[in-house]
Symmetry: D3
Subunit: 261 residues, 6 copies
């Protein structure tokens, strides 16, 4: 297997992804054809679970987009199970220490590098047992930094063997830093971001950002993040529907409209 997103990060090529909270197969199919580098299916906060994944991952297979999964918790069996279903990488929430990071990385890799249990169901279906030879190298382990404790240990986390990237959860990080949720321009928050970026640079790994808005994603890439999510399926849907409602209601300037029938 080849993890396209990981190749981009290793090559220093910034890329954008999409965040999926809804278990609709056809939303996933659509996203997979729009130019995002990766899609992250969210089992922590998203309205989906493992059973949904087994239907979503086949629907984007064969398209040039890397499937990532955010697991609900740093539990080896959860990480192993989503990898067996075909994920190319896992985003692990609430990684607060080097010990947490080792636990996550270990769950992503077969022995002797780690402790992943062997049973790569969909991967073997797709690739045969070549999978076993390449998985340890290609699976991405992505640790979320989103608490004050995680920030305090960020350099050790970034330096942990087997961690491929750090990923910022901005809302939880606000809470963790004692800020109001969404206070992303607070100097305390921006200093935290700088520290996380510095830690990834020192460790030679990638930094990623959950883009709370598309503007935030753009700024993150400009500031040195290797990857960011441009939004969630729900946000895409809602903004598109709101725009259509505004247009259809004529609340925009009618002058700009051309005849349509």
């Amino acid at each position: 297997m080849i993890n396209q997103a990981l190749q981009h990060w290793r090559a220093g090529e910034a890329s954008l992804g999409a965040w999926s909270n809804l278990p609709d197969i056809h939303l996933a199919e659509t996203l997979a054809r729009m130019g995002f580098d990766w899609i992250c299916f969210d089992l922590q906060h998203g309205l989906m679970d493992y059973g949904d994944l087994t239907r979503l991952l086949p629907a984007i297979c064969g398209q040039p987009v890397t499937p990532l999964i955010r697991v609900a918790a740093n539990q080896p069996e959860q990480i192993g199970k989503v990898l067996d279903a075909g994920a190319h990488g896992v985003i692990v929430p609430m990684v607060n220490s080097a010990e947490d990071a080792r636990r996550a990385a270990s769950a992503c890799r077969y022995p002797p590098a780690g402790t992943r249990s062997c049973g790569p169901l969909r991967d073997a279906m797709i690739e045969g047992f070549n999978y076993l030879a390449t998985a340890n190298e290609q699976i991405a382990c992505i640790a979320m930094i989103e608490t004050d404790e995680g920030l305090a240990n960020v350099e050790a986390i970034a330096a942990t063997e087997g961690v491929d990237a750090l990923f910022v959860g901005p809302m939880d990080l606000c809470y963790g830093l004692g800020l109001a949720p969404g206070d992303f321009e607070n100097p305390v928050f921006t200093a935290a971001i700088e520290r996380i970026l510095a830690a990834t640079r020192s460790a030679g790994i990638a930094a990623g950002m959950f883009g709370y808005t598309a503007e935030m994603a753009h700024m993150a890439i400009n500031n040195g993040f290797a990857f960011a999510s441009a939004g969630t399926d729900i946000s895409f849907f809602r903004s598109g529907a709101q725009q259509a409602l505004t247009t259809a209601s004529g609340e925009q300037n009618d002058n700009q409209k051309k005849a349509v029938y």
Copy 2:
């Protein structure tokens, strides 16, 4: 029961709806809270079927939005079944003659007004048997005009007892008129639209339009249609995602962006 959308049409109040092609419960929940007057779940071309409806309709129940269903064909058992599941109206494709219109209207009404079979499962669950006393008056039967034959018979269709509205399917109507799909500014097309509007005015019923775009919906309302769909869930999603990708890529003018963290 009260059919809110039908009340609006009867009161001459123009309104906008949304078209649902995807069977995701949470997309439906979101749509139901955005200000659309009605949502039409599409069993003809949409990626959903009756089983999906049984999950979608409860998810929007209690919100101020009227559930309409486009059935796959003018078949009484299909019409009866979606009404039993809680639809407040049906959009019937390919109504080409007064006989077609009578068939559709009859399937929507209990005897002696029609031939609907009695078994209003979800309706009775929600309202009890008051439902039987109000359904014939409140259920909307909406006939699609989308072929040359339908256009030729539009006045008779509009005048059929029990038909509450006509609804234009613009792509099929293009095909039916021998035009290229999407040639909505062709005089042949616009003349057809005028004839349909005139037929509804004469018959004292409402006219509706499938808005191929939000602009088209706006124009339809401006031109006298009582209702129009502002877009589909897929189109909302795709346009929102495209916009986010553009913004996050920085392809828009960076000057307009404010700091976000």
Copy 3:
């Protein structure tokens, strides 16, 4: 295969069934163990469709209860498909003429007795090809009498080769007879019931009744019906919940209660 319910009818043994409108596997499992002779899954008015059947029928297989299906309409492909999924009989709505009856019976039987297409998927899974040798004899074709036209032709319908039973739909029959829905004590209704019973006696086939209430089912059996439904899953659930709420609220006489902890 052996159709237990049909054997009972042929032996003149009255029996009770349950009506299923909800696609929950565990409700069906529970029903299958309570002593009902048959369960009818309703694809006409019930909140379920064919996909649900494929999950419900395996869940009651192996229990001593006969699976019947009410199809949405008298369409050969619908009848064939539910038989292929493992139904032992079909209840066909709105059989209004001998021609309707022949159409239904033909769809239930392989040539030369009928025109059922060969592909008994679940049946063959369960029994192997012994199924083909027994199906024509064991599959029950049950015609609903529920309109004035059906009543007018009831003797010819009962006498149609391949019809195994008639089944009364009382609410639709009220409508069809010009009565208020539920006016089951009206002499017009009771005379219709007598005529239907007489027609089945003459033809030597069974008569069945949709029991709108358990009392109605009891009376039907007492009056000569071979089978009746004692209620629906929704009615069972609602009455049990209402009873529990009353008891828990203490609205019943507290004197009768014994200590429970």
Copy 4:
């Protein structure tokens, strides 16, 4: 958001709930309209999981009934995930110590009151970000007392900051006390109940009881419990079906029946 059930408890108004073990949307819709104050969907012993919840919670949204979830275990990610899906409270099994209670309460509250991770998907869909301002106050954390260890620590558990109620699991408590399951009248059991009630009174929080029967629920309310479940969906269904079968079989006195057709 407003948690109706919690308001009732805080106001000292006793209330009854229903327990849901089956993932059928329409059972839930029916329950939501019958007058129960709350419905608890059971992810510990019920035949449902998180994916079912995502379909069940929308189906009762908008009805005046509070959605509670019993999680399978006292795991923060499980608690967070069901809250994100729209639960207004969690019932946490096997809370055996103040430490267990703190763990549960922390998972229910955003920092600084707790450690809940931010991502209220359905809540935000329904309310927007007003949710974040009210959730910590309105989400109910309900700790189950159902072991000997839990009983031994019940006063400390009740006094734990953030615990809103205790809830008795009577079968497990029998086992935990070395009693036969169901021996609810044993003095050892009744003494335990009194101790739990006393602990809640001292702490100023509510006490709840899983009503093994409706009679048990009634007695619990009479004895000072603020809330109790009147039964489970399976018990409602089974008792209603049994009653109908008895009635239809004529095993009850026929004299009391009136004509039904």
Copy 5:
């Protein structure tokens, strides 16, 4: 769009397909990678319906295998709906006359060639509106010959404009010819096969065979059929399981086994 299977037929290249009766996504994913030229999902006799298709078709999209659907009946709305979901061709059962054939072909093509209604949901998602320009040419309409009436009219059916292939249903054809099911070596059966092959050669279209066994498929290809199904998913599964059970039981000669641990 390009219909790979149709290209093979037009080029005179014989090919093998697989028949899918089970709605499991991962069986479909596996089949799509094994070298079959096409997979036919069976909505007539298979244990699946349209809702399943919406999950199965995305799972094989992107693999070099052509998705065909057998519809339950020759109904335009059924044909249109499966094409909208992404089928590249439809197999239509019980085509008994040239009129039947015209009805099927018309449902497969947009005007003016036919009467397909416009709404190619998944196709447009995958290809954009290029789909509309190519669909009429690439969609395959495949008529089943499986009754005596169909055989009597086979030359007219084969010559019908828009029919791309004939397909033999051998079990139904046995029944239709008055033979025992499975009597495939009866001269009456083999003569029918020869007549069907001759009709396709005269009309310049392809002939296909439902392979009741893999041997039958092989013989069909040898005898001039352009395509045949090598078996069904259920038959593949059952024969593989039976073989494994035999091997594991040691019922085969132990001498041939090599050590495995």
Copy 6:
């Protein structure tokens, strides 16, 4: 309840099972009728989760096959939940110490033998409360030995009260022993197998083997294992499909084929 497989093990009768990775109801129904002694549904590596189990277990209930579940991890709430859904035994991965074994066994048994929480939903539905009297004796707790640590502690694990069998995971054991995955003939591996067998003999419990192939299962039984899986549903399916494709392609000797039509 009676656990048929456990009776066989206790009686010293070797038996074969099947491994299920796919959540298809009809595959399970088919397997249940083929002569396997047990079916293990795999929640660790299989493409299924708990929600699937609730549909799969009813589909095999009533057939003479014992339902086992491999849980994803040695977590009491996972074990309890699958038992409540009707499993007769659990296979627990990665049991590495006597402490791990005690944890697993405790989760399988009601107090005082263990700590299983009471709520046997499907079991009680099927058997009533007789279940509680028999479950502790009949539920099988099966501990997997598949790491070097587990091997080092195998005698203590086998001797743990409440452990009914050990089960070898050969691929993980290879990894754990520092061997290449699949190196089952390596003396290090075969010595490990001998040690595990000896431990079970000493403890008087059964030994089981995951049969990576049917040949491996056969050899395991020959070498003293009480039970082995003959293959997985995916392997059965793939080998059957491959065989059919080979046959239909004529790649086998045509001489051996008899006429089929």
